[in-house]
């Protein structure tokens, strides 16, 4: 298997070697031996268009594509390169011993009955069929694994339900939902990602849902952009919680109350660039925090990724990117860093755990759903 098709499909053959991608790439900043164009150059020059191991270092955060004059889709090129590497037997050394990839492949492999809804708070109003579905993603699994980081990703699920209930919605929760397959897809295992995609599309259709809301931008990119490619159909509209909230605010059905505290927002790469949505979360946070909402130096589409994606790898470069991100947040004058992706939260908390600078380790990291839920309830805590 070679990369010739990928070079054409992603416009990588049009690379002008101008180096803008290297200039903006967060990995190149700390790893002089990596650059997006170098990866392309290698693929073009090698006689059979082979991939090489640098493919695994890319964050697929799409920052380079923003500045590329030839419109090269490096992220997609990287993903296809990983497919080639996998086909050649060079399985990437995924972080955490690939525990999440194994988990996803176990799900892809058969239709076992999961026990994934034990976290749902008793007070939550949910249904088994209806127009609106909440796609929870892997939240409960992360809490089981990251016991040492004190993450509370399940809470994001509970808070999202609080928000949806407060909006007068009773969302559908699927007891047999599967992982969205994002990490398998981006680590070059499209075959298993497609199995998960088909299962999820079938189950979503069975609930009769027209709108699928998720608190995880990775799930949304899969549901909206990738599932139609993998399964040929996606008979629903997929929205991130912030986008759904924005549509409700436009129609005046939700009132966000003010909350105290200085906050800033970490744009998840999947939300701000892959889904092209930097405004919706800002609009809500701006209303909740007013002038206490601060922007980091790199924000919106310019924001820098949380340092690792798809559980592909985690190294010293990831740590430096994360520390830099925390520093920008502290420099903005914020005490709380709000993010809209459970993985940003996990990665930044992990960087905090080994951080010596009090300013950075004392930053409070919270999810967008939690903040919005508190605002709607008037700061009345959680369920």
């Amino acid at each position: 298997m070679i990369l010739r098709d990928a070079l054409r499909e992603t416009h990588a053959t049009l690379c002008q070697d101008c180096g803008k991608c290297t200039g903006i790439c967060p990995v190149s900043r700390y790893d002089a031996e990596f650059s997006p164009r170098m990866v392309v150059t290698h693929a073009v020059r090698s006689p059979s268009g082979q991939a090489h191991d640098k493919f695994n270092l890319c964050l697929t955060c799409k920052l380079c594509s923003l500045v590329c004059p030839s419109d090269v889709d490096y992220s997609q090129f990287t993903r296809q390169g990983r497919e080639v590497l996998r086909a050649d037997g060079a399985e990437p050394a995924c972080s955490h011993g690939a525990v999440f990839q194994h988990m996803m492949r176990i799900m892809a492999g058969n239709g076992r009955e999961q026990n994934r809804l034990s976290w749902v708070p008793e007070e939550a109003r949910i249904r088994s069929s209806g127009e609106l579905l909440y796609f929870t993603g892997c939240l409960p699994y992360y809490d089981a694994y990251y016991t040492h980081l004190g993450t509370d990703t399940q809470r994001i699920g509970g808070d999202t339900l609080r928000v949806l209930n407060a909006l007068g919605e009773e969302p559908v929760l699927m007891p047999d939902e599967f992982c969205c397959g994002h990490d398998l897809y981006w680590s070059g295992d499209e075959a298993n990602a497609a199995k998960l995609a088909r299962k999820n599309v079938e189950r979503i259709a069975a609930t009769g849902a027209k709108t699928v809301v998720s608190s995880c931008p990775e799930c949304v990119t899969m549901l909206r952009q990738i599932y139609p490619k993998l399964t040929g159909e996606a008979p629903y509209e997929a929205l991130h919680l912030s986008e759904y909230l924005a549509s409700k605010r436009d129609s005046g059905t939700v009132e966000l109350k003010k909350l105290a505290g200085e906050v800033t927002f970490q744009d998840p790469c999947r939300l701000s660039r892959h889904l092209d949505e930097a405004e919706a979360p800002r609009a809500a946070l701006g209303e909740i925090f007013g002038e206490s909402f601060h922007e980091m130096e790199h924000h919106g589409k310019d924001s820098v990724c949380c340092g690792t994606s798809g559980w592909m790898h985690c190294n010293a470069v990831s740590k430096r990117i994360q520390t830099e991100r925390l520093r920008e947040a502290a420099d903005s004058g914020a005490e709380t860093l709000v993010t809209a992706c459970p993985k940003c939260q996990i990665h930044l908390r992990c960087a905090q755990a080994s951080e010596k600078d009090d300013r950075l380790s004392s930053l409070r990291i919270r999810d967008f759903a939690t903040v919005v839920a508190e605002s709607i309830d008037g700061g009345n805590g959680s369920w």
Partner: protein, 146 residues
């Protein structure tokens, strides 16, 4: 591992500590059929991903032969194993893998015969439980009422 059809026998992955239980060729010969032994320098090295990978590869059960607290060659291995179990148990539960398919037992050093006995018992129990298989047939789009 490939799926066995028809005459099904359980397949087991047995992790053991190389220091306390040097399960050698002699002992391995007495292990029940379908058991593969993976010797680890310390059971504290066993990562949740090892257990999940064994399940993903088709193992019907995973057995860990660990040292009793205080016997670890490195001092903290048993403690690390406990932490690992605390992480992998809820993941297996959510994935729908029965808890009876993952067993950790603690043995005093050198007691390979006790391990063999315990593994045999685990295997017999798995044989009675039956193979892991798809439990929930996925609803098809065609079955969905429009």
């Amino acid at each position: 591992m490939k799926a066995v059809k028809g005459n099904w026998k359980p397949r087991l992955i047995v992790f053991s500590c190389k220091w306390c239980f040097p399960l050698g060729l002699e002992e391995e010969r007495h292990l029940p059929e379908g058991c593969s032994v993976l010797r680890s320098l310390c059971t504290g090295r066993i990562h949740p991903s090892f257990v999940l990978q064994a399940i993903e590869s088709g193992a019907d059960g995973v057995f860990i032969a660990a040292c009793e607290d205080g016997d670890c060659h490195y001092g903290t291995g048993t403690e690390m194993l406990e932490t690992m179990i605390g992480r992998v148990d809820p993941m297996l539960d959510m994935l729908g893998v029965e808890s009876s398919r993952f067993r950790v037992r603690y043995f005093p050093p050198g007691k390979a015969d006790l391990i063999l006995e315990s593994v045999q018992e685990f295997r017999d129990q798995l044989e009675a439980t039956g193979p892991r298989g798809p439990l929930l047939p996925a609803p098809r789009l065609s079955e969905v009422k429009k």
